[in-house]
């Protein structure tokens, strides 16, 4: 049993707040992905779990025990580093055995344990090589084996895939998920790549500027982003976000975007009215925008074909704030299947979406507005 929990944990570096009052409960056996842009505090959070950084405020519990001031070696966890951190002067075998050596495991057992871990990761042939003689993927596996050999309750991974080529990365992603299923240990995984977050995590925690923005299952975070930051960060291509003016008509709400406008369903109208805001940020995922008929007018700017699908960049009519200027008005991306008829560049179009696919946010606070 080794869940991990942050309780109001903060980390300050001089005047910089790297992590701000983080409250996060990670149950035993979960694969939690900490995701966010660089400098968001995700690595700091991981290093606090590892004991490599001291928390400035708050506490950290592992398996229900307060370990805020426990040395890393007594925390029963292992970590895979972005650089792999293999000891270049030791062979693969010595690297894998190294953590056991410090724990005074007898040599014969050490060897057996290392063999087991190596076999599990297909490193059997490479035991007598040095890290310098291995490929990136192989090094990454040695780092995993070194973490595995101690059978820790918690695995920490700091961007372990970012130095791999695209093909190996996809493969290793699957292997890591499988490993998690086999071991049943708690995995805490840091990445800036939202694709990794979406595909691997049982839950993901989105961080920005040292603050936790949202935590939840990948689909929940994707379908119901808690604020504008999460909405823009999760998903590729990112969610379209357009500001609209709020007009109150007959108790209902009408949103105006450029030359177009549409009425909000009643349930939502009440929620928007309640906030009393004049403008609202509308979010629509590219795959939910439809070209054909709809209330919004636009012009096709570029058409990018990716083979299986198409990304169409449209400029919304009437949003060009400075006519004649080269700065375009609001742009949105429409994601289309390759089977759909492709619009031409410069073509005037209408855009629409189903109301259930709309996300509304307060443009000032960034908070989500739910119907």
């Amino acid at each position: 049993m080794a869940g991990v929990s942050f309780n109001g944990t903060s980390k300050h570096f001089d005047d910089v707040v790297a992590l701000d009052q983080l409250d996060l409960e990670i149950p035993d056996g979960e694969f939690l992905v900490l995701v966010g842009p660089s400098g968001c505090g995700k690595s700091t959070a991981l290093r606090i779990i590892a004991g490599l950084e001291e928390a400035t405020e708050g506490t950290l519990h592992i398996g229900g025990v307060d370990v805020t001031d426990v040395e890393p070696q007594h925390r029963d966890l292992a970590m895979v580093f972005q650089s792999y951190a293999l000891y270049p002067h030791k062979t693969v075998r010595q690297n894998i055995e190294f953590p056991l050596k410090s724990r005074k495991v007898p040599p014969a057992d050490r060897r057996a344990e290392a063999e087991t871990a190596a076999t599990m990761l297909g490193l059997g042939e490479l035991m007598d090589r040095r890290p310098g003689q291995l490929s990136g993927g192989q090094r990454q596996r040695v780092a995993l084996a070194r973490a595995l050999v101690r059978r820790p309750e918690v695995f920490l991974m700091d961007e372990p895939l970012s130095n791999l080529d695209a093909k190996t990365r996809v493969q290793t992603r699957a292997e890591l998920s499988e490993l998690h299923a086999t071991l049943g240990a708690t995995f805490i995984y840091v990445t800036h790549d939202q694709v990794e977050a979406m595909t691997m995590g049982t839950r993901i925690a989105v961080l920005d500027q040292g603050r936790l923005q949202q935590v939840g299952a990948p689909d929940d975070v994707y379908d119901r982003p808690a604020n504008l930051f999460v909405a823009g960060f999760i998903g590729s291509p990112p969610m379209n976000i357009v500001e609209a003016a709020v007009e109150r008509i007959d108790g209902g709400i009408r949103l105006a975007i450029g030359t177009g406008a549409f009425d909000l369903p009643e349930s939502w109208g009440a929620a928007v009215s309640a906030t009393g805001i004049e403008r609202v940020a509308i979010g629509i995922r590219p795959e939910h925008l439809r070209i054909g008929d709809g209330p919004i007018d636009g012009v096709v700017r570029t058409v990018e074909s990716l083979g299986h699908e198409r990304h169409i960049v449209c400029e919304l009519a009437g949003t060009d704030h400075r006519p004649g200027d080269l700065v375009p008005g609001d742009l949105v991306i429409v994601r289309q299947s390759a089977d759909d008829p492709a619009p031409r560049m410069g073509e005037a179009i209408h855009l629409g979406a189903e109301a259930r696919h709309l996300h509304l946010f307060d443009p000032d606070s960034g908070e989500r507005i739910d119907p």
Binding site: D23, E54, G58, D66, T68, D69
Partner: protein, 308 residues
């Protein structure tokens, strides 16, 4: 949820203990070095200044406090001034010559020719010689009776030259030993400097039609100048520390013609038994070396900034 931790006090205590443990470890690891430096560098350094304030009478070793008098006496004494002058001449004789010869050898050896390894080993070989070995080896050249040079002079019908016994020659002879002994290290350092110069500069200079001489003057010398300048300062410092050659070959003579400053300190302290005056001279030596070291650090610093 225990949002405000109740165990803040306990934590501070653990952390303070950990800090102290680290500090204790640091102190333990530094202790051997600090002890040695304290006893054999800092303490004697301070004591040398202190000793300079005391005069020792030539018979007893009874010390009397004379304040700054000894410093002024030493600085104005003709013997010490002579030492400074001789040391300066020695520096002028050894440093530029050594650098020029070492650089010459390095340039000569900076080519892709078969057998270059052998020549490089030969040119760096004098690093292995100590002062004593180098000095005695030069006796084989300079001795009036058996020395090779004098044998040759005699064979041609000339009069042997008493290199180490004549006031005009002695310092030159000492300098020759020094230059030869330094040649190896200068060669190694300038060679490394040459090898670090980018090849493409030379290739583009050749395309521009630069002659070998202009490539040397316009590329090699400017690019190598930090290395040369550094070598210049280091060699100057070592020349102010020279002792062995004088002790072995000339004993400071004839007529104090080779009485280099360290030899003078040594003689004053251990032959004339006048530690006070020796200490005063040592203090002067310290300040000279201090200025040179400051220059050296400045160069090193700049080398860091301009990417060597």
């Amino acid at each position: 949820m225990n949002r405000r931790p109740v165990n803040d006090r306990a934590r501070t205590r653990t952390r303070t203990r950990r800090r102290w443990r680290e500090r204790g470890l640091a102190f333990t690891l530094l202790l051997p070095s600090l002890l040695v430096f304290g006893v054999f560098v800092f303490y004697p350094f301070a004591r040398t200044f202190w000793l300079g304030f005391f005069e020792t009478d030539p018979f007893g070793g009874r010390r009397t406090f004379v304040g700054l008098d000894q410093y002024t006496d030493t600085l104005t004494s003709s013997s010490f001034r002579n030492s400074l002058w001789v040391t300066l001449k020695f520096t002028l004789l050894t440093v530029p010559t050594g650098l020029a010869l070492g650089l010459g050898l390095a340039i000569l050896a900076h080519q892709k020719l078969r057998g270059m390894g052998f020549y490089r080993t030969v040119f760096s070989s004098t690093v292995a010689t100590s002062v004593a070995v180098a000095s005695l080896m030069f006796i084989s050249l300079l001795s009036p009776s058996v020395g090779l040079i004098n044998q040759a002079i005699r064979w041609f019908g000339g009069e042997p030259i008493f290199f180490l016994q004549s006031p005009g020659w002695a310092l030159v002879a000492i300098s020759a030993v020094t230059v030869w002994q330094n040649l190896g290290i200068i060669f190694i350092v300038t060679s490394a400097g040459l090898q670090s110069l980018p090849d493409d500069l030379y290739e583009s200079a050749r395309l521009d039609g630069a002659s070998a001489w202009s490539r040397f003057v316009d590329i090699t010398v400017p690019l190598l100048s930090p290395t040369l300048l550094f070598g210049f300062v280091v060699l100057t410092i070592t020349s102010f520390q020279t002792f062995g050659q004088v002790d072995l070959l000339t004993n400071g003579g004839p007529l104090e013609a080779t009485n280099l400053i360290v030899f003078s300190i040594f003689e004053t302290a251990f032959r004339d038994f006048n530690p006070g005056s020796a200490a005063a001279q040592a203090v002067v030596l310290f300040f000279i070396v201090l200025v040179l070291t400051a220059v050296q650090f400045k160069i090193l610093e700049r080398r860091v900034f301009y990417g060597r």
